[in-house]
Symmetry: C2
Subunit: 203 residues, 2 copies
């Protein structure tokens, strides 16, 4: 298809399509004449992915570029790919410390793996600081409630990865981390709402 059709079908203005190509976020079309390039379904899929990350997930363009780069040229090692993906997602925290005692204690109690270089450790540390700062409960019993639910979710999410080739597994893991989060949070809010409505109506 021509760039005009690509623009129309994706809903992305032609100038923005050209910008993404210049920034290396979208491959060039196949040159068919001096003035025309041909675009395919891969281009359409890539534009939808950029829109999902930038418009819907609300990530800054530099973060979208980081995530696309991970998908296009993943580290051979899945653990460091996950680490980079997590680092490209909010909350953006100072992850340069050697140790995070608050997170370390929680992680030990929850039987998870403590690796201070994995950004989610710093993110947990900050999140616990906020909970405590607001006077909310961050006791082991409360954290276990969240950890149990998340272990269950993560096990189901990770299960299919074993059977995937690397070029499928990486986008699945990277995009799954980024894009199921808002789904999960919306469902938690809906579950609260549902329980309150149920109680109100005596159901």
């Amino acid at each position: 298809m021509k760039i005009s059709e690509l623009s129309e079908r994706s809903g992305v203005p032609v100038a923005t399509v050209k910008f993404y190509i210049r920034e290396g976020m979208l491959p060039r079309g196949e040159t068919v004449s001096a003035t025309r390039a041909e675009y395919g379904d891969d281009h359409l899929a890539r534009l939808r992915l950029i829109a999902a990350l930038a418009d819907v997930r609300g990530l800054a363009l530099t973060r979208v570029r980081d995530i696309l780069a991970l998908i296009d040229a993943p580290a051979a090692d899945p653990i460091s790919t996950l680490g980079k993906a997590v680092g490209a997602l909010p909350p953006y925290v100072d992850g340069d410390r050697d140790d995070y005692p608050r997170a370390r204690a929680a992680i030990a109690d929850l039987d998870l793996t403590y690796d201070p270089d994995f950004t989610a450790v710093a993110q947990l540390d900050e999140a616990l600081r906020a909970v405590e700062g607001a006077g909310l409960d961050a006791s082991p019993a409360v954290l276990r409630r969240y950890a149990d639910a998340m272990k269950q979710v993560a096990a189901a999410e990770i299960a299919p990865v074993a059977d995937m080739p690397l070029d499928e597994a990486v986008p699945y893991a990277v995009l799954g981390t980024a894009l199921y989060e808002p789904v999960m949070l919306a469902l938690r809010r809906l579950a609260h709402h549902h329980l309150l409505v149920e109680r109100e109506t005596g159901a």
Copy 2:
């Protein structure tokens, strides 16, 4: 304590403390002389709460103000208080539509309550659009996985509210919605990491 001590103990600069007072986010101190006001532990707690929401959770100041206003003067009705709290939290979506067919279908399938005026419905709709736009699975079976975990979490979170007076229940619900989310997301990322490390080491 004097404003200088309040500043020192909270880590918030004196100028910022004065700004919060002018903006109505922090109550004035008790006037003890023409040039001095006295501050108490309530002021300290409020500054820690503002820091948790603004610095750690990363909310814009206008959103922090909305959340503080909900805590200080909650709607009598818990469902509308929850609605306002959810509206003050990201993702910020266009919640003005009368109907969200994508979310409506998912919510019906998950046995939750569909109320298009509750912002989390629009948030779910957008989140599902992103998942589909990225070519990820948004089938009922996958959504049920997240919904089951979130129903379990929400039930445990809502349970203690029944025994709380309103002036405790509202901050618990509003702050709990805002501040346990980053904890939960960090734990999901840590659970992924843990499962990958386990697999790598053959544990």
